[in-house]
């Protein structure tokens, strides 16, 4: 995922800028290695080591009874069998070899969980982009009580996701306020689509304001005189939005969409607490992260393979965003910070 930073910046070498001596008496970046060393060391321990270990584990067999021979197997090299187990939903059979995983076992849940995760991501992010854009446009106008609005927008963000999940569990309870407001009697956590709807609404509630703030930061970079010129030329409000606002806010929007997409792809807290991954036939809101957690107690190594698949999948999505959709995080935020000064 380092690609976010490797995209060449046009103004990277700031040659004419004379560097002053820093507070640590390091000039011209000579002391930079000392300053960044503690961070790199910590990241190597808390992320680097577990990732390498997970990849190593994913090629090991889980200790347990061999289904074909009935003998205890203490592990050993597994090749890609942990990966094929998930990707092709193949399980070891009592007759030897592998076959389709039985319904209801975790092995048969991979593509369902993958589908749910992608579905949550697409629907949530799509709603959040539209609503977030609308919120941002309102927040960009001048009005009294900006402080109150900003505080109100931060409240959903500040509430821990675990609490949000419990709160929406209460809101979507059978006798809860959602059913009362809708004059309906829906078993929200029981059926497939109502359960998904509950998870998506909780996610959208919590993160739309955050999306709006990111888009707002992009709107604030657009100079006012561009709109004034357009107005003099007779452009309508709608034309201004489509021809000026959208193209100019696009970099910030892409970054916001990237952040949110990667965030929903690892969604765990909300469905885990709100629906337990259930609904429908019992797996309508199961996500990749939940599946990993369920697998951990049944075998670390298989769980490591699944988490590695999840990690690679998220990495690929990030890569596509940065490479093909032009979500240049570093540069966009650089520009926003320059404009904010």
């Amino acid at each position: 995922m380092a690609t976010a930073g490797t995209v060449p910046r046009t103004d990277a070498p700031k040659a004419p800028k004379k560097r002053r001596k820093g507070i640590f008496n390091v000039s011209e970046g000579g002391g930079a290695p000392i300053l960044v060393a503690p961070t790199l060391a910590l990241l190597a321990i808390v992320i680097g080591y577990p990732v390498v270990k997970a990849v190593f584990m994913s090629f090991q067999k889980d200790p347990g009874l061999d289904k074909a021979t009935g003998l205890f197997v203490s592990g050993g090299f597994a090749g890609f069998s942990n990966y094929t187990h998930w990707l092709f939903e193949r399980c070891a059979q009592t007759t030897g070899g592998t076959g389709p995983c039985p319904q209801g076992s975790l092995g048969a849940e991979f593509w369902t969980s993958m589908g749910n995760t992608v579905m949550f991501t697409v629907i949530s992010v799509a709603i959040e982009v539209v609503l977030g854009m609308w919120f941002a446009l309102i927040m960009h106008r001048k009005f009294r009580g900006r402080g109150l609005l900003r505080a109100a927008v931060l409240v959903p963000w500040a509430i821990p996701t675990a609490v949000t999940a419990k709160l929406f569990f209460f809101i979507f309870a059978f006798s809860g306020i959602a059913n009362k407001l809708l004059h309906a009697q829906i078993l929200w956590t029981g059926d497939a689509w109502p359960a998904r709807f509950a998870v998506i609404s909780a996610d959208v509630w919590k993160t739309t304001p955050f999306m709006a703030l990111l888009i707002l930061a992009g709107l604030q970079v657009i100079p006012d005189d561009v709109y004034e010129a357009a107005q003099i030329d007779g452009a309508t409000k709608f034309q201004q939005f489509v021809q000026i606002t959208l193209p100019l806010v696009k970099p910030a929007l892409m970054v916001a969409v990237l952040f949110r997409t990667l965030d929903v792809l690892r969604i765990f807290d909300l469905p885990y607490i709100l629906t337990g991954g259930g609904g429908g036939k019992g797996d309508a809101t199961n996500t990749l992260s939940i599946l990993v957690i369920q697998q951990i107690r049944q075998g670390f190594n298989s769980a490591a393979a699944l988490s590695t698949i999840t990690f690679i999948f998220i990495f690929l999505v990030a890569f596509i965003f940065v490479r093909f959709l032009g979500a240049n995080v570093v540069q966009t935020q650089d520009e926003q910070q320059k404009a904010a000064r």
């Binding site: 380092a2 390091v26 402080g147 900003r150 409240v155 792809l265 690892r266 999840t310």
Partner: protein, 299 residues
Amino acid sequence: MATAATETRSVPRTRERTGTKRKSFNWGQVRTYIGVAVIIVWGLAPAVWMMITSFRDVGYTFETTPWPTHFTLDNYRTAFSTNLGNHLARALGNAVIIGVVVTIVAMAAGVFCAYALARLEFRGKYVLLGLILAASMFPPVALVSPLFQLFTNIHWIGQYQALIIPDISFALPLTIYILVAFFREMPWDLEESARIDGCTQAQAFRLIILPLAAPGLFTTAILAFIAAWNEFLLASQLSSDRTAPVTVAIANFTGSQPHQEPYTTVMAAGTIVTVPLVIMVLLLQKKIVAGLTAGGVKG
């Protein structure tokens, strides 16, 4: 004449945008305030509903009145009671311990790295920035299986370090990213001016830079603390009853009846966890928004 015409045309628009006092009815302004009201209701309604419910008598859990008809503080008493196997007070303590240590470690390492990224030019700077950004996007679930196995083997499950160490994986990148944004906005020229005026390097740092950087540092620390405070996935797997932080405790809250959710008690517990954060948000909203949009990584 032409200029006068342009002026009159642009007047209503300028007024609309600047919101200066106007006596006549302004439809655009009304629409703005309707939108503002919608956003405020959006942000506050569910949270307010949680607080109202936390004061309702348990027999009136599903009342729909906008205030509790049978006001009670019992839910808060029950939430803190340990009779049903819930340990909210202990969990709050755990979350504070974990959050404070994670914040201190992340700030201690992050402040130097962020300083280098914001002020120095060195090879691999943008690779490092991208690496840190990538680290903050990292799915925590990829850490769980190896850490769970490791911590089980060395008997760390049920120890605080088993929760503190993994939390650094997201708190440190977050800290660095936000600090870089704050540091870039600092008027570093002042440091130089102070030195020309006769300050030593240490004095310039202590008297000029530190006071200016303090609000940014404080906000970053708060954001790192909130991120650690809100973490659930890693904590739910790597904690025992003894070390479970408050998010895990609330998720596992049990009531007096099995299979029956103690809604009002959970809402009280949720309110207790949320109120300190909301107060911090109210006090620091401007800085937090600046920090969030700069290092906007945690949703």
